[in-house]
């Protein structure tokens, strides 16, 4: 069959361009998708030329890095600190993460109630959302350093800074799971004349507790990583500080390696627990 025949034999709904049948038509979301992709690709190709590399000798640097990584990962050893100290420092890091998660979770619960669209007025919920995105926009380390000016460098500033981000994260997560509650359940209780707090305790909490536990533990996992960073960058103590000392003060890469392994093992354990919690409470779809 000739192509011209195809064009005529098909109804007007079929588009033909240059004698070829088109298999797709213009579609806005695909267009935006392709535009975004094109932008990212061009940016990735062009951007490296806009960076100032100073006088870096890439070859030597890579050579040294490989050497350093080898020292770090293949010959880990503790020299400045004992294994006991390392374990206590890890515990301190976990404690920092734990405290900021628990404090943050309690505050987030109340904020989330005030933020969920099915439980609170819109103006309140929007105010909290704006407040949260402001908190999130400032990196944790900056919050910690700002708190440190008044509270001094240390655990207080670190926990306050980390708690802020925890609140911003968890209140969003909690309120979203609150919003997923079947409206009929709330309505049914309201119809019996139940008080607002009864609804929270008897519908909202039981319906969402597994999600909340799962989100909270996930945040604890994140906070553990943040706590290491705060130890290194904002002198909050813990294993992060030891990491900073052994690399920037003693230049002892063997110890950096050993500490990294310690931190990694704990992180992997936390990840496994968090996946387990998620699977058991929510169930894998």
């Amino acid at each position: 069959m000739q192509i011209s025949e195809i064009a005529s034999s098909t109804t007007s709904s079929i588009k033909v361009r240059n004698g070829k049948i088109q298999i797709k038509t213009f579609n806005r979301s695909n267009f935006v998708l392709q535009l975004t992709l094109a932008f990212l690709i061009i940016f990735t190709v062009v951007a490296p030329f806009f960076l100032d590399y100073k006088s870096i000798d890439l070859q030597t640097a890579i050579f040294y890095t490989v050497d350093n990584l080898k020292m770090m990962f293949l010959q880990p050893a503790l020299n400045q600190i004992t294994i006991g100290t390392a374990l206590i420092q890890i515990l301190i890091t976990l404690a920092l993460a734990f405290l900021s998660t628990v404090i943050g979770a309690v505050i987030s619960f109340f904020l989330a109630i005030a933020c969920a669209k099915n439980l609170a007025p819109t103006w309140l919920s929007n105010t909290i959302i704006t407040f949260n995105s402001f908190i999130r926009a400032v990196p944790t380390v900056l919050w910690v350093l700002i708190f440190a000016i008044v509270a001094g460098l240390g655990s207080v500033a670190a926990i306050l800074g980390m708690t802020l981000h925890t609140i911003a994260y968890l209140s969003k997560a909690y309120s979203e799971s609150f919003e997923e509650i079947d409206g009929g359940m709330i309505e049914a209780l309201r119809a019996t004349g139940a008080k607002w707090w009864h609804i929270i305790v008897h519908v909202v909490l039981p319906q969402t507790s597994s999600y909340m536990i799962s989100w909270t533990f996930l945040r604890f996992e994140t906070n553990y990583g943040v706590a290491i960073a705060m130890g290194a960058a904002a002198a909050a103590g813990g294993i992060g500080f030891e990491l900073f000392m052994s690399s920037s003060f003693y230049y002892d890469l063997h110890e950096v390696g050993a500490i990294t392994y310690f931190a990694l093992i704990i992180a992997l354990i936390l990840e496994v627990i968090s996946v387990q919690i998620k699977n058991r409470l929510i169930g894998s779809r």
Binding site: L69, A95, V102, V138, L142, S155, A229, A233
Partner: protein
Amino acid sequence: MNAQFDVIKKKRIQMTIILLVMLLIVFGAKVLTDFSFMEGLASIPGTVFWMFTNLIPTAEAMENFPKVMERLWETIILSILATTTAGIFALFFALFGSKTTKINGLLALLSRVIASVFRNIPVVAWALVLVISFGHNVVTGYFALFFTTFGFLVRAFMETIDEASTDSVEALNATGATYFQMVFRGVIPDTLPQMLSWVFFMIDTNIRSATLVGLLTGTGIGYIFDLYYKRLDYPTVGLITLSIIVVVIVIELISNKVRRMIL
């Protein structure tokens, strides 16, 4: 009736025990970290007051504006670059690691383990090691961000693939399609929007991480923050903080807009 009563009672005892254990851990953590709730609470009003009196950029601070912008631009480029390049690698690892598109079990396991290790090595560890050989250079920041982003995106992409494309993968395999036909015409079209959404999320996260990495490695906006923070030049510190807020919020707005259009 009695049995039901017992269940409620048992649950209550369970809850009480869990609560007590939690309180115990809180107390232990408090002692271990030398943290005081009162001190924490007391320093909040002071900090808020201090922020509003000291972190307001003055005319003097505005003179540093071009310098701040230059570093900020560096940080933005670095964050996007680290995310996009890591995304490309992550795509392949995710394809090999996903349940629906894996080639064989061993490769899948390997790819999951590698991703998990990269994800869980703290970004500061990378930064501190790389800075020794690369020095105070953008390359240090780039690699530190690249490694953690890679680890995170592999997991995110893998979950996206598992969730979105199990069915169409089955159908395409049944038509006799080859592996790459199945990936490019079945998996990618269905998952690309969600993956792009993760890439935006990571760019956003990386701008904040870049500040941290910059502090440690003397690059980007983190470096200049550290500089003025140590000089006690708080109006400039305020200016830097504000500019970070603006950038993060603008990127969030753009990515929300794009996400709405492509999803």
